[in-house]
């Protein structure tokens, strides 16, 4: 039986206090080829039921892998007992959770016939064979498929009722060559996004152009020079602007981190960025386009809505769950999400983006006399001070308004609420990605988007 068909409302009479009952199944698929050999070929499915109960300001939680009626009843009862025990030991000042009642369904499963594992491996092998044939200069290559389906069924004691099946399919191509000194030089790119494999990837050849571009960048990176350490004029390409939105600003404006002391708490309604900067955490849709991680109802049963974080440079609001919205005296934004069935919902971003402006990328590059064009990120990290860092795996020098030599892997950093004030140009096009997993007690997929932006930033290097 599909999770969609489970009648969780039948357990409503066991919910004597505010209760969330969530049935969830995460299905992961991972296939990896290393120089043509299948080095990973694995599937996993984790499903179960969880209940979270609110009592006297504290939460009780319980989960089980079994999902029959007896297990669901036991899970609700254990969560209730945990809440009662904790409240008896340490009641908190009573918080009134804002009520929410909505019903939403979303399903991003493919309507096409599903590929078998053998077909997927053959697909990856075809990509790998094309790479091996066309780029014999590589020292090593890998092609990895990572699929995640998150299916959730939610019922709350307030009557919210939700079903979602959020899917993602990614292919990661990694190439390694050597430079003149015989040292390894590496570059990787992630393809794909929302949807299941059959909807995201049409044919191995369809990736040829992008893989050609990846290889061309790698060949330039063989001759890369180290960037000069220090503060420079840079263009952050859209992927980097997206991770900037997520890491540098997004995390500082999650209401739980604001409660923990994030500097954003002091800046509400103040100018924190150039007036060219507007930033939004979208729930599911922008300009009619469904975004990478669409959330219509969150795991507290709240209808998700967009959270405008920065508008024309002014910090406007934060992202909330029920508890934080009560404490801040605002409406919840539907940002409460859990990764696994055994996880509690936390305030998490959904689709966080800096919005496009009016400039052309070529004009932006032409405007820099001596700086860098930074294109692809690796990892990133945020801080309560809004100090951020991202790894950069691909970038180029800009000399006299023209792109120059590639630069070696580096790290960029800054204090977001200072750096954003240096934004002087914003391109008129933006792109989205959902390749990453955000870590905050639990991991979870997030969408990030942005245009190219011109700013001044601290670059690591020689």
């Amino acid at each position: 039986m599909s999770l969609r068909d489970e009648n969780l409302a039948a357990y409503g009479n066991r919910m004597s206090r505010y209760t969330e009952l969530r049935l969830q199944k995460n299905t992961n698929l991972r296939i990896s080829l290393l120089n043509g050999d299948v080095v990973a070929n694995a599937k996993s499915a984790d499903s179960g039921i969880s209940a979270r109960v609110f009592h006297d300001g504290v939460w009780g939680f319980s989960s089980r892998a079994e999902i029959d009626g007896d297990a669901i009843t036991k899970t609700i009862d254990e969560a209730s007992r945990n809440a009662e025990l904790l409240a008896k030991y340490a009641p908190r000042s009573e918080i009134e959770l804002p009520p929410a009642r909505t019903k939403k369904e979303s399903d991003f499963a493919t309507k096409k016939a599903r590929f078998s594992q053998a077909q997927m491996i053959a697909f990856l092998q075809a990509i790998d064979a094309r790479i091996a044939e066309r780029y014999p200069d590589l020292k090593s290559r890998s092609v990895t498929l990572a699929d995640l389906d998150m299916e959730k069924r939610l019922y709350t004691s307030e009557g919210s009722d939700g079903y979602s099946n959020t899917t993602r399919s990614l292919i990661v191509v990694n190439m390694v060559t050597t430079n003149a000194a015989g040292q390894p030089v590496e570059l990787r790119q992630v393809f794909g996004g929302r949807g299941q494999f059959e909807d995201v990837f049409s044919s191995p050849a369809a990736l040829d152009d992008e893989i050609d571009a990846l290889h061309a960048h790698l060949m330039k990176k063989r001759e890369a020079v180290a960037p000069r350490a220090g503060v420079h004029d840079v263009i952050l390409d859209s992927e980097l602007a997206g991770i900037l939105a997520h890491e540098a600003i997004g995390h500082t404006t999650e209401a739980d981190l604001v409660r923990e002391g994030s500097v954003a708490g002091d800046f509400l309604d103040q100018l924190v960025a150039s007036p060219l900067v507007t930033m939004v955490d979208y729930a599911h849709t922008r300009d009619g386009e469904t975004l990478p991680v669409p959330v219509y109802i969150d795991d507290e049963g709240v209808e998700s809505r967009d959270a405008v974080l920065i508008e024309n440079g002014v910090l406007k609001s934060f992202m909330h769950n029920k508890e934080s919205s009560s404490l801040f005296g605002v409406n919840p934004t539907g940002n409460a999400r859990a990764y696994q069935f055994f996880d509690e919902p936390l305030i998490r971003m959904r689709n966080t983006a800096i919005l496009p402006g009016n400039d052309k990328l070529e004009d932006m590059i032409a405007s820099i006399e001596d700086g860098y064009y930074l294109m692809w990120p690796s990892n990133g990290q945020a801080d309560s001070t809004s100090e951020f860092m991202f790894g950069v795996t691909l970038g180029y020098e800009i000399k006299n308004g023209k792109l120059g030599r590639a630069i070696t892997d580096t790290t960029i950093a800054g204090v977001a609420f200072d750096m954003l004030k240096t934004v002087s140009m914003v391109s008129d096009e933006m792109s989205w990605s959902c390749a990453g997993m955000c870590g905050k007690k639990q991991i979870i997929p997030v969408g990030m988007g942005g245009p190219s932006i011109k700013c001044r930033i601290h670059i690591g290097g020689q």
Binding site: N35, V39, N41, A42, V58, K139, Q183, P184, V415
Partner: protein, 424 residues
């Protein structure tokens, strides 16, 4: 549970797999969590997972589920058959050979809930009274109990029962409008027999964080020393341990390929993996061998790679007796304060926030929760300070290892001084 693991192995061999492996794990997770200085969540999770691996005609696949019913097992075995059949043959795919039946037990069987409440409350009280500007965003005490049965078709039959507590703290300091970077620490613990502030250097880090609300930049760009604290050392060992593992060794992209028996670090560095000794460790390797405490680097010389059975068969090198992790760096003879006293100019780094080093080992990142050192003395907390260098060179440039170490339960690390780091 025992019976079901046997049924699963039987089902795999009957389906036609020439080699098969089953790991069945029952787990319980008890968690008491505080948010913003107040107890907020009591959680109990129950789970059962079963991981199946099958090899047929040298083709391998794995499937894991968390349901122990006959119907779920039947579906998983059929699924695994399709997964494995869809793969490509590789003679390096294999399972562990027959070994004597063994049982491994470590840690407590049941959680002491009263101790969990008392120790966490005690920590929150300590934080409130000693460090009023500290905001304890998340403080968590857990008890994890796992019972596993590991079987394979060569006759391997292991059972493991482990119970351990865990502590995880995340905090920030705020004084007026001045905010520190967030900081965190954590530990795996056999018992809750001492205050949590005394575990994993927590009290020192909490105090330091309250000092870090007002920071300065380094006076100028320079090349100097890093004093790497125990909290940060794993960031600087990760390049080595990752690059002696399967993928870079098989692909021959690792700087350490062919370096077994050769010098890869300063003679001051000795590094072990001790999964059996540490409470945060494990008894059975992922391949199905009893885990053994293993010396990886002895006085700077690489003594063992971290190859799995597959990696070993693929490279023709020796399989490691550990799956990695649980790293222990041998203590030196220099007191920590004397080690800092050696530094003419540098940074005491407590948290490294940086990009993943490239295959050459080049790195750069921000020194978080860190201090400027000049003339052998810790001067002031830093902000916006970038450190850069090369991971392999950093390990070769270790001059001093402290006498004192911090036991995290999942690792044991000293303070380490390394030279030649770019600081800006």
């Amino acid at each position: 549970m025992t019976h079901f693991a046997e049924q699963a192995l039987d089902a795999l061999t009957k389906r036609g797999f020439s080699k098969a492996r089953v790991q069945l794990t029952e787990s319980e997770h008890h968690e008491l969590a505080a948010e913003f200085g107040e107890l907020s969540l009591l959680r109990t999770n129950h789970d059962t997972s079963i991981s199946l691996l099958g090899i047929v005609d040298d083709k391998q696949g794995s499937v894991s589920i968390n349901k122990c019913t006959h119907e779920a097992l039947h579906d998983a075995v059929e699924d695994l058959w399709q997964v494995a059949q869809g793969s490509r043959p590789d003679p390096a795919n294999d399972i562990a050979e027959r070994q004597p039946k063994a049982s491994f037990v470590a840690g407590a069987e049941v959680p002491d809930h009263d101790a969990m409440f008392e120790r966490l409350s005690e920590l929150l009280d300590h934080s409130r009274t000693q460090y009023p500007t500290l905001k304890m965003g998340g403080a968590i005490v857990t008890f994890n109990k796992r019972r596993s049965r590991f079987l394979n078709s060569n006759g391997v039959d292991f059972e493991s029962r482990r119970g351990s507590y865990g502590m995880s703290l995340m905090f920030t300091a705020k004084d007026g409008k001045d905010t520190s970077s967030f900081n965190y620490t954590g530990a795996a613990l056999a018992q809750l027999d001492r205050p949590l502030k005394d575990c994993a250097n927590a009290d020192t880090l909490m105090r330091q964080t309250t000092e870090q609300v007002r920071t300065r930049k380094v006076p100028a760009k320079f090349t100097g020393d890093l004093v790497i604290t125990p909290e940060s050392l794993s960031d600087f060992l990760g390049f080595l341990t990752q690059n002696i593992s399967d993928v870079p060794m098989i692909a021959k992209t690792s700087l350490y390929h062919g370096k077994l028996g050769a010098k890869v670090a300063s003679a001051k560095l000795s590094l072990d993996s001790r999964p059996r000794e540490l409470i945060g460790g494990y008894a059975i390797t992922g391949d199905g061998y009893p885990a053994e405490d293993t010396t990886l680097v002895d006085a700077g010389v690489l003594r063992s790679n971290l190859l799995s059975l597959y990696g070993a068969r693929k490279t023709g090198l020796t399989r490691a007796a550990t799956t990695g992790g649980c790293y222990v760096v041998e203590a030196g003879s220099t007191p920590r304060d004397a080690l800092i006293g050696e530094v003419e100019r540098g940074v005491l780094i407590t948290r490294f926030s940086g990009g993943r080093p490239n295959d050459k080992g080049d790195f750069s990142g921000i020194a978080k929760n860190s201090y400027y050192i000049e003339g052998g003395e810790v001067r002031y907390p830093l902000s916006e300070t970038m450190v850069s260098g090369n991971m392999a060179e950093l390990l070769a440039n270790i001059t001093t290892v402290s006498r004192e170490r911090v036991d995290f339960g999942f690792a044991v690390y000293p303070w380490v001084r390394a030279t030649g780091i770019g600081i800006s």
